[in-house]
């Protein structure tokens, strides 16, 4: 990304017209249209991108995060959008700080964001406000830390959690959770 050439693409122009103050930077390196927007307006931006007739980004291809350890804000949440009717693609990025790792959920815009946001929470520890059911998706509840963070060492062992390690309220919480999740005939 060494040479920032001027970008003139109808998709980016339209986005900038509507959200002049919130689009912080754009690039089209290797042909991938990219726009960085402010985290607070992410839902408005996404809803506009989906509903606008010219843009029509009806398809959330992917949602993930990148940990830029050492820079502030530390995290970047990345949305890959595609319009099935128009055929174009767009990458939306937004920065999230380490101290307050949360941003609004886009589940109301694309239902497919549900599991993707759960995965991002699970592996990066970024919370999505307004998510209907934000729990870990791959790992178990007692897992300590978020393994795709760059400061999580690959070799780290997780403690084996048994009943004996838990105090009484923890056991009760676990039983309640198991009852809710597995039913009483488990």
């Amino acid at each position: 990304m060494s040479t920032p050439e001027p970008i003139d693409h109808p998709v980016l122009t339209r986005l900038r017209e509507r959200f002049a103050d919130d689009v912080r930077s754009v690039h089209a390196w290797r042909g991938d249209l990219t726009a960085e927007v402010t985290a607070a307006r992410i839902v408005d931006v996404c809803r506009f991108l989906r509903d606008d007739a010219e843009l029509a980004f009806d398809f959330l291809s992917d949602l993930t995060a990148v940990d830029y350890l050492g820079s502030t804000p530390r995290f970047e949440v990345v949305y890959h959008l595609k319009s099935l009717t128009r055929g174009h693609r767009l990458r939306i990025k937004t920065r999230v700080s380490e101290d307050a790792p949360h941003l609004p959920s886009v589940v109301p815009v694309w239902r497919g964001a549900d599991w993707l946001e759960r995965e991002t929470w699970d592996l990066y520890g970024i919370r999505f406000d307004g998510h209907p059911d934000l729990r870990r998706i791959y790992l178990y509840e007692e897992f300590e830390g978020h393994p795709l963070r760059k400061d999580y060492p690959k070799e780290r062992r997780q403690p084996l959690v048994t009943r004996a390690d838990l105090d009484e309220p923890q056991v009760q919480r676990q039983e309640e959770r198991d009852r809710a999740r597995y039913g009483r005939w488990h």
Binding site: R30, D62, G112, G183
Partner: protein, 405 residues
């Protein structure tokens, strides 16, 4: 009949025998699902009130492992994403890395990659259709499907020596050019596999039991599928002809004549029919590629990516240095980020790579079609019968390695 309140004298009498919903567990290891997944079902009689699908049983930290190795060391991990069609994953990752580097493989390499991808797609569809039939209690089509798949894996073996963990495609080229006599072997294996598959088709497509289980089940309208990010045969069966090979052609798909089959009703039977037709189209693609295969190198001529010939390494200083640097430091793509999508056997398979200019990937994300497809299953089975889960889950064709990464 239920005593609602102990304080009142009478009983509340109802015609229906209603109790509270029954919760049962399906999986994580269930004989009628070909994938490791747990489904917590809430049942009202045989009707599904709600289904909580829990994935992650095959999570092995694919991304974390990729980030700790060099760029080329991620390729073997991609084999293990969708292990039913490993070549497509190899191709997808290497295309993304090449986009990052800004290089393009010579035409012969592209043709061979196309052939390899389609062989893998055939293998995936044979597995899916065979296993689905078995889970609907038809054993013979499964054995036939596996037999047909063996022919495809023989071709994998001819290409790279391995049957499943192929590791064939390299960033900037291929592990090796085609072995001698590959075109004839490929045509012969295709003929055998398609002959077996014709029997599977005859056994299943008009089979009343099979149709009864498949027709009208698992249906979800196209706008819902799009909202969930569902792609591949599931979306095409609902009438949306989105195929990455046509929408954003990569490799040589824009030079090849093939059709994208599209269904109408979007039920499991249409999904099956779309896969059956895709088998024929993949065979067409392979035949055209074999007929038009150009001569020339398969690798890019770039010592930063591909090793120089051994004779030069032993006798010339520059090539020796190139090889030494490539072995010790690995390749170093410029800092930046790319997303590259290919058409996997189950839908859009995307790789999002971030480089910070060093020899290791900063981020090596895989957008797995099975993940989004399995997510949509909850809405597909809600309100349906318990038995409908099996054909719906079969046609979703969740591959644990790819869904859980």
């Amino acid at each position: 009949m239920r005593d609602t309140d102990a304080g009142t004298k009478g009983f509340e009498v109802s015609d229906e025998l209603h109790g509270e919903p029954l919760e049962i567990q399906m999986g994580p290891s269930h004989p009628a699902t070909h994938g490791t997944v747990r489904i917590t079902l809430k049942l009202d009689g045989e009707r599904i009130v709600d289904a909580d699908i829990q994935v992650g049983y095959l999570h092995r930290g694919y991304e974390k492992e990729c980030e700790s190795g060099e760029w080329s060391q991620a390729i073997p991990y991609t084999d293990r994403l969708n292990y039913a069609s490993p070549m497509i994953n190899n191709v997808g990752y290497c295309l993304a890395a090449e986009k990052l580097l800004g290089v393009t493989v010579p035409p012969r390499g592209q043709y061979i990659r196309t052939i390899a991808s389609e062989i893998s797609r055939l293998s995936d569809h044979f597995t899916c259709i065979g296993a689905s039939a078995m889970e609907l209690a038809a054993m013979t089509p499964f054995l036939y499907g596996v037999q047909a798949r063996e022919h495809m894996w023989d071709l994998h073996e001819a290409l790279c020596g391995a049957r499943v963990t192929t590791n064939y495609v390299r960033i900037g080229g291929l592990q090796s050019d085609l072995p001698p006599g590959f075109a004839d072997l490929c045509r012969e294996k295709l003929r055998l596999a398609l002959a077996i598959f014709a029997d599977v088709d005859r056994l299943l497509t008009q089979n009343p039991i099979f149709r009864e289980r498949m027709e009208g089940t698992g249906r979800l309208p196209a706008p819902d599928l799009i909202a969930y990010g569902v792609t591949g045969p599931l979306l095409r069966a609902a009438g949306v002809g989105y195929d990455v090979r046509k929408a954003e052609p990569y490799l040589v798909y824009d030079q090849i004549d093939f059709d994208v089959p599209v269904g109408t009703s979007g039920d499991n039977y249409d999904r099956y029919l779309v896969r059956v037709e895709e088998v024929r189209q993949s065979a067409r693609i392979i035949e055209q590629c074999l007929a038009n295969l150009p001569d020339g190198p398969v690798d890019v001529d770039d010592p930063r990516l591909r090793w120089p010939a051994k004779g030069k390494v032993f006798n010339r200083m520059e090539e020796l240095i190139d090889q030494f640097k490539l072995v010790t430091e690995g390749m170093r793509p410029p800092a930046g980020e790319v997303y590259q999508a290919v058409e996997g056997a189950n839908g859009e398979l995307g790789f999002y790579l971030v480089s910070n200019g060093t020899g290791k990937p900063w981020k090596c994300r895989c957008r797995a079609p099975s993940f989004s497809n399995t997510h949509a299953m909850r809405d597909m089975v809600r309100g349906a019968l318990l038995a409908d889960i099996v054909p719906t889950f079969d046609m979703i064709n969740m591959i644990g390695g790819e869904c859980d990464r």
